[in-house]
Amino acid sequence: MESRRKIIGFFAHGLPLLATLLVLAVIGVIIANFVIGGVPAMSWEFLTEAPRNVNTEGGIFPAIYGTVLLVFIMTIAAVPIGTITAIYLAEYAKKSSRFAQFIRFAVNTLAGVPSIVFGLFGLGFFIQTIGAGIDDFHHASKMSNLQEIIVVAPSPLANSVSAPVSEVKQFLRNTDESLWIEQIRRLSHYPDGVDAVVNTEQVMTFLEARSAPGWGKPNILWAALTLALLTLPVVIVAVEEALRAVPQEVRAASLALGATRLETIRKIVLPNSLTGILTGSILAVGRGAGEVAPILFTGAAYSLAELPGLKDQFMHLGYHLYILSTQSVNVDDTRPLQFATTIVLLGLTLALNMVAIMIRSRIRRKNKKN
C-alpha cells in the first residue's frame, strides 16, 4: 500500500514537471532554430536594403518600414480609445453596473474574435463601405455625366448599351487603372463612334476624378484601423489594471481637497498610471506587429517599388515571411532570407512583449500591496 502510494506520488510529481519541461524545451527549440538558421543571413544590408530580383535577394527594409508605419497608425487609433474606455471602467462605472458589465463582455468578445474575421470586417466595412463611400461622394456629381456617356456611346465599359450606373461603378472599382486607359482607347476607336470620340474626353475627365480619391481599395490606413480594433481589448485590459493599481486613498485625498472627479483622474490617477498606459501600448504594438491574418486582404502587398504613404499598400514582415515561405519563386533558395526575416519579426515582438511583461509584473506587485 505504502509503496503503491509512493509510485503514484512519483508520477504525480513527475508528470507536471515533465510537461513543464517539455513546453519550455519547445520554446527553446523554436528560438534556437531561428537563431541558428537566421543569424548567418543577417547583415546590415539585409536590414537597410530593398528586396531585389523578385524578393530572392537583397534586404527587407520596406517590410520593416511598412510594419513600423502600420503599428504606428494603429497605436494612434487604439490607445486613446482603449485608455478612455479603461478610465470609464475603472473610475466611473459602479461594480454592479449592468452597462459596465455589458462593455466588459463586449471587450472580452472582441478579444476572442478570430483575427481573420477582423480582416473580413476591414474589407467589408473600411474598404467596401467607408472607402468606397468616400470615393462615391467625391465624384457623385460626375455620375450623371457618366450615365450620359454610357448611353450615348455603346461602350465597352459595360456589356449593354445602357449599363446601370451601379454596374459601371462596380466595374470601375474592380478594374485596374491601366485597364481603364485601354477601355478609353477602344472607346475612341469605336467604328460608328463620332459621339464616342467626342465623349472620350468626358470619360477621361470622369476617370481622373474617379481615380483621385481611391479610398475604396486596400491600403495601410484601413489595415491599421482593422488592427486597431483587434488590439483594442489588449489596451483596455492593460490600462484598466494600471488604473486600479493607483491606491484608493490617493483618490480620496484629492477629492477631499476639493478636486472634482475629472481633475482627480487627470492630475492624480493618470500621471500615476502612465507606465500602465505604456504597457498597454507596447503589448498592443507587439500583438499588432505580428498579426498577418487581418492585413492579408486589407492592404499588405508582396512587393512594392516605393515606400508607402497613407493611401498605398505596404510590405509587412509577417506577410513577407508568409509569401516567401509558401508562394515565392524559389522557396528553398530563399530559406536563409526567410529565417532572417523571422528573426527580425520575432525579435521585434518578443522584445516588446518582454518589456511589457516586466513593467506589468511590477504593476501587479504594486496591485497586490493595495
Binding site: L17, A19, V23, I84, F102, I103, I116, V117, T260
Partner: protein, 357 residues
C-alpha cells in the same frame, strides 16, 4: 488722468474679475460634464464594434441565404428550367454554383463534400472544411490540454516560488510569438522532423498543423488554468494537509476539482483560439479540402480557407459571399464560446480570475 477714474476702473476690473471667475467655474463645470459624457460615449465603442463586425460580415454573407447572387451565378441560375433545377438538386454542385433562388438547394450545396471554387462549375461544399477544422482543432487540444494543465499544476503547487516566477513569464512569452512565425516553424522544422521520424505520407497534415495550433493555445490554457488553480482558497489545501493528505493528493484530489470551472473555461477559450487561428493552419496543414477524417491527411480550416482565397476572389461573386459565410460561422462560434465562458464563470463566482487577466 486723475486718480478717481482710475480707482473706479480698478473696482470695475475687480468686479469683472470675480464675475468672470464664476463664469470660468461654470464653464469648467460644463466642460467637465461634456468630457465625462464623452468618456461614456467612447467607452460604448467596444460594444458598437462588436455589432458592426457582426452586421457587416453577415451583410456580405447574406446573399447566400435564400436570394440571388450578383454576377455569374444569378445569370446561370435564372436560365435553368424547373427540371434542371430538380436535377441540380439531385447532383448538387455538378451544375451551376449554389442555386440560391432556393434556400434548400443552397443548404444542400453548402453541405456538399466538394470545395472547388475555381473550377468551371464551381462548387462550394463546406463539408471538407468542417471536417478539417474539427480534426485539427481536436489534435491541437489533445496536445495542448494535458500539457498546459499539468504545467499549470506544477507551477501552481509543486514548484518553488522563484522557479514559478521565471517559468510563468516564459510560457506567457509563447503567446507573444506571432502565429506566422509558429506556422513557419511547423512548415519547415516540425514537418521535416515529423516526416523523417514517423514517415508521414504527406509532409503537411493535420497533425503537424494541430501541433502548431497547440503551440498557440498552450499559453492561453496554461495561464488561465494556473490562475484558476491559484485562486482556490488556501484553506482547502491547509485543511487537506492537516488531515494527513500528501501534497500531491491535495493538489489532484482537492485543488484540481475545485478549480474545474476555471480550467473548463480555459479549455473553451483555447478551443476558440485553435478554431479561428489562420496563419498556422494556412502554412502547416497542406491546405487541401479533402473530406477525410484521417488526421494524417492534409486539411484546411474555416479560417485558412478565407485567408487563402479571399485575396483573389472577385468582389460580389458567389465565392466572395461564401467566404464571408465562413467568417460568420467563425464569428458566431467565438461569440458563443465567449458567451458560455463568461456566464459559466459568473455562475461559478470566479469572475476574479478573468478580471485580473
Amino acid at each position: 488722468m486723475t486718480d478717481q477714474p482710475q480707482g473706479k476702473q480698478a473696482s470695475q476690473i475687480q468686479k469683472a474679475d470675480t464675475s468672470s471667475l464664476s463664469l470660468v467655474k461654470k464653464e469648467r463645470r460644463l466642460g467637465e460634464w461634456m468630457i465625462e459624457k464623452g468618456i461614456y460615449v467612447v467607452s460604448t465603442l467596444s460594444v458598437i464594434f462588436i455589432f458592426l463586425i457582426f452586421a457587416f460580415v453577415t451583410r456580405e454573407a447574406s446573399p447566400i441565404i435564400g436570394h440571388t447572387f450578383s454576377g455569374e451565378s444569378s445569370d446561370a441560375a435564372s436560365t435553368l428550367s424547373p427540371e434542371d433545377r430538380t436535377r441540380a438538386r439531385e447532383i448538387v454542385g455538378s451544375d451551376y454554383p449554389i442555386l440560391l433562388h432556393d434556400s434548400k438547394i443552397a443548404i444542400d450545396a453548402l453541405l456538399h463534400d466538394k470545395w472547388e471554387p475555381n473550377s468551371a462549375y464551381p462548387r462550394y461544399g463546406i463539408w471538407p472544411i468542417i471536417i478539417g477544422t474539427l480534426k485539427s482543432t481536436f489534435v491541437a487540444l489533445l496536445i495542448a490540454v494535458p500539457l498546459s494543465i499539468l504545467a499549470a499544476l506544477y507551477t501552481a503547487f509543486f514548484s518553488p516560488v522563484r522557479i514559478r516566477e521565471t517559468i510563468k513569464p516564459i510560457i506567457e512569452l509563447l503567446a507573444g510569438f506571432p502565429s506566422v512565425v509558429v506556422g513557419f516553424f511547423c512548415l519547415i522544422t516540425v514537418a521535416t522532423f515529423a516526416q523523417t521520424v514517423f514517415g508521414f505520407e504527406f509532409r503537411l497534415n493535420s497533425v503537424v498543423g494541430g501541433f502548431g495550433l497547440a503551440l498557440a493555445v498552450i499559453p492561453i490554457i496554461y495561464t488561465l488554468s494556473e490562475d484558476a488553480l491559484r485562486s482556490v482558497p488556501d484553506s482547502l489545501q491547509e485543511a487537506a494537509l492537516a488531515l494527513g493528505a500528501t501534497k500531491w493528493q491535495t493538489s489532484y484530489q482537492i485543488m484540481l476539482p475545485a478549480a474545474t470551472p476555471g480550467i473548463f473555461a480555459a479549455i473553451l477559450l483555447g478551443l476558440g483560439r485553435a478554431f479561428g487561428e489562420t496563419m498556422i493552419a494556412l502554412m502547416a496543414m497542406g491546405n487541401a479540402p479533402i473530406p477525410s477524417w484521417d488526421v494524417f491527411d492534409p486539411a484546411r480550416t474555416f479560417a485558412s480557407t478565407i485567408g487563402a482565397e479571399m485575396g483573389e476572389v472577385v468582389f460580389g461573386s458567389s465565392h466572395y459571399h461564401v467566404l464571408f459565410f465562413l467568417g460568420v460561422v467563425l464569428f458566431v462560434f467565438s461569440f458563443g464560446i465567449n458567451f458560455i465562458t463568461e456566464f459559466y464563470i459568473k455562475n461559478k463566482l470566479i469572475r476574479r480570475f478573468r478580471g485580473n487577466e
